[in-house]
Amino acid sequence: MASVRRTKSENLYIRYLILGSWALFCLMPVLWFLSIGFRPRTEIITAQPVYFPTFSMDAWHMIWSDWPMAKYLRNSVAAIFGSVVIDLVLAIPAAYSLSRYEYRGREDIGFYILSTRMMAPAIVAIPIFFLFRNMGLLDTIWALMLVYAAINLSIVTWIIRSYMTDIPKELEDAARTDGASDLRILWEIIIPAVLPGIITAAVIAMIFAINEFLFTLLIASTPDAYTMSVALANFTGGSDGLIYNAIALVAFLAFVPVFLVVVAIQKHLSRGLTMGAVKG
C-alpha cells in the first residue's frame, strides 16, 4: 500500500514538472517580448542582452505619433469585421443546406468546400493579385475583406454545419407541421439553436484574418491598407533597422482582444479548430 502511494506522488511530481516547464517555455518568450515593448531602443540590440531594462513608454508614443497606428487598427478592424459578415451571410445558408437536406451531390459539395481550406495561399496568390489589379482594388481594404472572407469560408461553413447536424430533427418537424417555411425555420429555430457554433466560427475566422500575412503583403502596398499583421514588418527606421519595441507593442495590441475572445469561447475552441470534427 505504501509503495503504491509513493509511486502515485512520484507520478504527480513528474506530471507537474513536465507541465510546469512547458508552461514556462510558453510564457518566457512572451514576457521577455513584453519587456522589449517597454524599453528604450538603445537597450534592445546590444553587445550583451539587457535583462533588466529601464522602463520607457517611447515606443507607445512613437506608434501613435510617428506611425499611422490608428489607421492600421481601423484597417484591421474594418477588413476583419467585413470578412466575417460576408462569411456568415454565405456560410449559414450553405451549412443549413449541407446539414438538414438530403440531395444528390451533397457530400461532394461539402468536401469541395472543405478542400478549399487545403489550398496554399501561394498557389492562388499571383492570379488573385492580377484579379484585384484589374478590378482596381489593389491596396484597398475591400480586397482584404474579400480575401479574408474567401480564406475562412470553408472553416466557417464546416463549423456551423457540425453544430446544425446536432439539432434533433423533431424540433424542425414540429415547426413544419405548424406550416412554417424553410427559411423561417432556419431563422427562428435553427440559428438561435446553433448560436454558440456561429460565434465560435466567427471568432476563429477573426483570428485567422488577423493572422493572414501573404495576401495582405501582396495587396497592401501603402498604409492605406496595412493591417497589423503586415504593418509589423514595416516598422523599420531605415539604417537603424527594425524598431523592435514598436513591433512588440503592436503584437500585444493584437494579442489582447484575441486572448479575451478565446477565453470566452474556450469550451468550443477545439471543435472550432478542427472544423467540427472533434467535439470537445
Binding site: A94, I113, A122, V124, P127, A251, V258, F259
Partner: protein
C-alpha cells in the same frame, strides 16, 4: 407531400378546379432546388478563389510573363522547373521542416495531453498553454528573430551557463536556420494539437479507464493500450490540418531567414513569392503553383477525405 410522379399527375388533373394546386407544384420544383440555392452562393464564391485562379495559373504557366505582353512558350516553364535545383530544394525543405516540426509537435502535444487531461488543476489553467497560438505568426517570427538572431539572448544564456564560448552563428548555418524555423513553429502551434488532443481524451468514456484501473493496469498502460487507439481519428484530423498549415509556412520564412542561407530554408510558398514578386517571373511562378496545386489535390483526395470521414463518426 409525396414525391412520386403519380401524385404529380393527379395534381395536374385537379388543377383547374382547385386554385391552390398550381402554386404547390411550382413550390415543389423549387423545393428540389432549394438546398442547391442555399449552398450556391458559398460555392460560387469559393470557385472564384479556387477555380478561377487555378485556370489562370495553368494558362499563365505556358507563357513568359514579365511586365508587358504574354509570350507563349509552350512547356518551357515546366522544363526549366524540372531542372531547377532551387525548386526541388524548396519542395524538399518544405517537406523536411514540415515533417520534423509536425512529429515534434505531435509527440510533445500527446505527452502534455496525457499528463493534463484528467487533472482538474491544469484544466483551469489550460489557457496558459494556448498563449503562443494567440499571437500573430508575424509577431512570433519577430520574437524568435530577435531572441536568436538580433539580440542573441539564446547564445548569451548558453555562454553564461558555460556550454559555448562565443556567439552561435545561427544565421550562416543551414541546419541552425532550419532548427530556428522549426522551433518557432513548434512553440507557436504545439498548443493547437494539445487543445484538440485534450478535448479528444476528455470526450472518452471515463468508465473504461476506471474499469482497467480496477483490473490493476497502470495509468501509462491504460493510455497506451486503450485511450490512444481510440484517439486515432482525432489525431488524424488534427495532424492533417496542422500538416497543411505547416506546408504553407510563409511569414516565418519571410521575416526570420528570407529563405537563406543558400536557399536552405526556402519553402515552396516562399519560392513562388520570390519568383513572382521579387523577380517578376510570373509565368514561371505560375508553373510552380500548378505543380503545388496538383500535389494539393492528390493529398486532399487521398488523405483529407479519409481523415474527415473517420473523424465524424
Amino acid at each position: 407531400m409525396q414525391d412520386s410522379p403519380l401524385s404529380e399527375v393527379g395534381a395536374a388533373q385537379v388543377a383547374p378546379t382547385v386554385t391552390k394546386k398550381p402554386i404547390r407544384r411550382r413550390s415543389k420544383r423549387l423545393k428540389a432546388w432549394f438546398p442547391y440555392l442555399l449552398v450556391a452562393p458559398a460555392v460560387i464564391y469559393l470557385l472564384g478563389i479556387t477555380l478561377y485562379p487555378g485556370i489562370y495559373a495553368i494558362v499563365q504557366s505556358f507563357y513568359a510573363v514579365k511586365f508587358g505582353p504574354w509570350n507563349p512558350v509552350g512547356f518551357d516553364n515546366y522544363v526549366k522547373l524540372w531542372g531547377d535545383y532551387q525548386f526541388w530544394g524548396a519542395l524538399w525543405n518544405t517537406f523536411l521542416m514540415g515533417a520534423i516540426s509536425l512529429s515534434l509537435q505531435c509527440v510533445i502535444a500527446l505527452t502534455l495531453a496525457f499528463y493534463a487531461y484528467r487533472d482538474p488543476w491544469v484544466r483551469g489553467w489550460r489557457i496558459i498553454f494556448l498563449v503562443p497560438m494567440l499571437f500573430m505568426p508575424s509577431a512570433v517570427a519577430f520574437i524568435y528573430k530577435l531572441m536568436f538572431l538580433d539580440a542573441r539572448v539564446f547564445s548569451d544564456i548558453l555562454i553564461r551557463i558555460g556550454l559555448i564560448d562565443g556567439n552561435l552563428a545561427i544565421q550562416s548555418s543551414i541546419w541552425g536556420s532550419r532548427a530556428l524555423l522549426i522551433l518557432t513553429d513548434v512553440w507557436q502551434w504545439t498548443p493547437f494539437l494539445f487543445i484538440i488532443f485534450v478535448a479528444g481524451l476528455q470526450g472518452q468514456d471515463e468508465e473504461i479507464e476506471e474499469a482497467a484501473r480496477l483490473d490493476g493496469a497502470t495509468w501509462g498502460k491504460i493510455f497506451w493500450n486503450i485511450s490512444l487507439p481510440l484517439m486515432r481519428p482525432v489525431i488524424a484530423v488534427a495532424l492533417v490540418i496542422r500538416g497543411i498549415d505547416i506546408t504553407t509556412m510563409f511569414a516565418n520564412v519571410f521575416i526570420v531567414t528570407k529563405g537563406g542561407p543558400a536557399f536552405g530554408t526556402e519553402t515552396i510558398s516562399y519560392f513562388i513569392y520570390r519568383t513572382g514578386f521579387k523577380f517578376f517571373n510570373f509565368g514561371y511562378a505560375s508553373a510552380a503553383s500548378v505543380i503545388m496545386l496538383i500535389i494539393t489535390i492528390v493529398v486532399a483526395q487521398v488523405v483529407v477525405k479519409r481523415a474527415f470521414k473517420s473523424g465524424k463518426d
